[in-house]
């Protein structure tokens, strides 16, 4: 990774850390929303952006994480942040089970199957599956997180919690992008047959991408559950998945800076347009089309990886 990118991230997060001083609690809460969806979109980016699998059901993993947290917090009184790993693992396990038979599906067929998956999860939650999800009411009374005795309640507290997690996600996923694993996923996206020929076990890598992305989304579910203190099935419908999908594609598939920008636009624009009252979503839809037409590759597309030929020659 080039140093310029790192420098950009550091400046961005440093500036962002100062913004709550200038903003009222509403705008801080908008940024919280952006942060949550950024984390989710980055986890979707592994599946959709790097591995190139058409996945429009990411809210399912997010829901499983949020419900895992809610159930173990409200039933067993375990502090929410301790539930973080459990939520990640639950979502990963679910992904492992459901993704295995479907990852060989191509393109749009995979797309509809993932839509089906998110709908099945939502319907199961509404119908109070296993008698644990509270049906349409959802689960309420989820406790607020505590860090070293400090209780996080206000939007501004959540701002630092969420964006700390977002910064961590950006850091880890940047490293992942350039790792052997990340490069293998990108290869597989460009040409599956060639990747298979080069010794990449494509099915295993695709599954790994699903499990990793799902686990991360599950942990984000924990943050959402504790921020809202009440979760219900309608927070995890197909439309949430669509929004995440739009963030990744609009920003630039497979590009972390792109996903960051995408999250700000998709989550932020409808709020900026609040002054248009009932027309705010109309203008948002129009803006989406225009942005896509002006920048068909995404706003900040992933740049192809560059190799320094001289150093490779020296090696050989």
């Amino acid at each position: 990774m080039k140093n310029a990118n790192w420098l950009g991230y550091i400046v961005f997060f440093a500036l962002l850390a100062a913004t709550p001083l200038l903003l009222d609690r509403y705008w801080v809460d908008v940024l919280n929303s952006v942060g949550l969806y950024l984390i989710l979109a980055l986890s979707l980016n592994i599946i959709l952006g790097y591995a190139g699998m058409f996945h429009m059901g990411h809210a399912a993993f997010y829901a499983i994480g949020a419900y895992t947290t809610a159930i173990i917090n409200t039933r067993y009184g375990i502090p929410v942040l301790w539930a973080l790993p459990a939520s990640g693992i639950a979502a990963s396990l679910f992904a492992l089970i459901v993704a295995r038979p479907i990852i060989h599906l191509r393109g749009d067929y995979l797309l509809i199957v993932t839509i089906g998956m998110v709908e099945i999860v939502r319907i199961a939650l509404i119908n109070d599956v296993f008698g644990m999800t509270g049906g349409a009411n959802g689960i309420f009374g989820i406790s607020r997180p505590e860090i070293f005795g400090f209780r996080i309640t206000q939007p501004i507290h959540f701002f630092y919690l969420i964006w700390f997690f977002a910064a961590l996600t950006v850091l880890l996923f940047s490293l992942l992008e350039n790792s052997r694993f990340g490069r293998a996923l990108k290869y597989l996206k460009e040409d599956e047959v060639a990747a298979e020929g080069s010794g990449i076990h494509t099915a295993r890598y695709k599954l790994a991408a699903f499990v990793l992305g799902a686990g991360w989304a599950g942990m984000c579910g924990t943050l959402f559950a504790t921020k809202m203190t009440i979760i219900s099935p309608e927070s995890f419908n197909f439309w949430e998945s669509v929004q995440l999908f739009m963030i990744v594609i609009l920003g630039g598939s497979g590009s972390i800076p792109g996903v960051i920008l995408g999250a700000f636009l998709v989550m932020g624009l409808p709020e900026l347009f609040r002054d248009f009252a009932n027309a705010r979503l109309l203008i948002f839809g129009l803006a989406l089309m225009v942005m896509m037409i002006v920048r068909p590759q995404g706003l900040l597309p992933a740049r192809p990886r560059k190799y320094n030929l001289d150093s490779i020659r020296e090696l050989s």
Binding site: I102, R106, Y109, I112, G116, I249, N278, F284, M289, P296
Partner: protein, 307 residues
């Protein structure tokens, strides 16, 4: 409960499913047409369906069509007008939102389509308001048809017939006519088709007229039969029809028909014999099972897809 009444239940549910499936099939035909040529999932298709329903109502009340030519003829004229208008909107949509993205990554056009869907839905809300609209009830004579004790409303038979007729007409159009041949050629390879002297832009225009027109016709039928329309209804119908198109094998015209009817029947039987509340989950579950066994749908061709 005797055997006869169990049978009656079953067949009644089967006809319930076919009626719902007929609408799905009609919308799915439009999805499949567009997909076949552009490999684009037109997420705004469901909203074109809604526009059809609203235009139908507006034309019906403003032209007072029913006063001059009532019954079937009036409805037929109305359907032709609605299909023409929605088809034109489809062409405009392609020109503005999809054509600039034709050489771009496929998913970019999908996001543009989602933007168009949000735009249309909210435009309808702003123009007509958020309330539910209702079609006049006396459009068609109510003729309850009883076959072996099953009650089958006339409109259901019309919906099914219309779907089948349009499917066959579309199939013949694509298979037998010169334009149809051009459509098939463009579907296989746009570049090569252009080299053969086919005006690909014209072909795409035709496809974007027919697809949305069929969706608009379905919207009109839903309005006439079920009566109630509102601005969000296209989202659910669009999703179901997309499911149906995939189930049958997207890009395949008879596949859309089979997928639509099958989805309707699965839903009705799932509701009847398993659970109403889990109906949609059952339908998606069956879809996933079918795709695991046949990864390109029931009638889809097994071709390697370039992503």
């Amino acid at each position: 409960m005797g055997l006869w009444s169990l049978m009656e239940q079953f067949f009644q549910q089967l006809t319930n499913g076919l009626a719902v499936g007929g609408i799905y099939a009609l919308i799915a035909l439009g999805y499949t047409m567009v997909y076949g040529v552009l490999k684009l999932i037109n997420f705004a298709h469901g909203d074109l369906f809604t526009i059809g329903a609203y235009l139908g109502l507006t034309l019906l009340t403003s032209l007072a069509l029913n006063d001059y030519v009532g019954g079937f003829l009036g409805l037929f004229i109305l359907a032709v007008m609605v299909m023409g208008l929605v088809g034109i909107i489809g062409i405009l949509l392609e020109r503005t939102a999809y054509r600039p993205l034709r050489q771009s990554p496929r998913l970019s056009a999908v996001v543009s389509a989602l933007g168009a869907s949000i735009f249309f839905q909210n435009a309808i809300m702003l123009i007509y308001g958020a309330k539910f609209y209702v079609y006049p009830q006396d459009l068609l004579p109510v003729v309850p048809i009883n076959i072996f004790g099953l009650s089958i409303p006339l409109m259901r038979i019309i919906i099914l017939l219309a779907s089948v007729v349009m499917m066959i007409a579309l199939y013949l159009f694509v298979q037998k006519t010169k334009i149809g041949t051009a459509i098939r050629a463009a579907a296989i390879d746009q570049g090569a088709a252009r080299l053969m002297g086919i005006d690909v832009n014209f072909v795409i225009m035709i496809v974007f007229f027919i697809g949305p027109a069929l969706g608009g016709a379905a919207g009109l039928m839903v309005g006439v039969y079920y009566g109630q329309i509102n601005f969000t209804m296209g989202w659910i119908y669009g999703l179901k029809a997309f499911t149906a198109a995939i189930l049958g094998g997207i890009g395949n015209i008879p596949g859309a028909m089979v997928g639509g009817l099958l989805l309707g029947v699965i839903e009705a039987l799932g509701a009847a014999y398993i659970s109403i509340a889990w109906k949609d989950a059952i339908a998606f579950f069956v879809l996933i099972l079918i795709l695991i066994v046949r990864p390109t749908g029931l009638l889809g061709e097994r071709v390697a897809e370039k992503i």
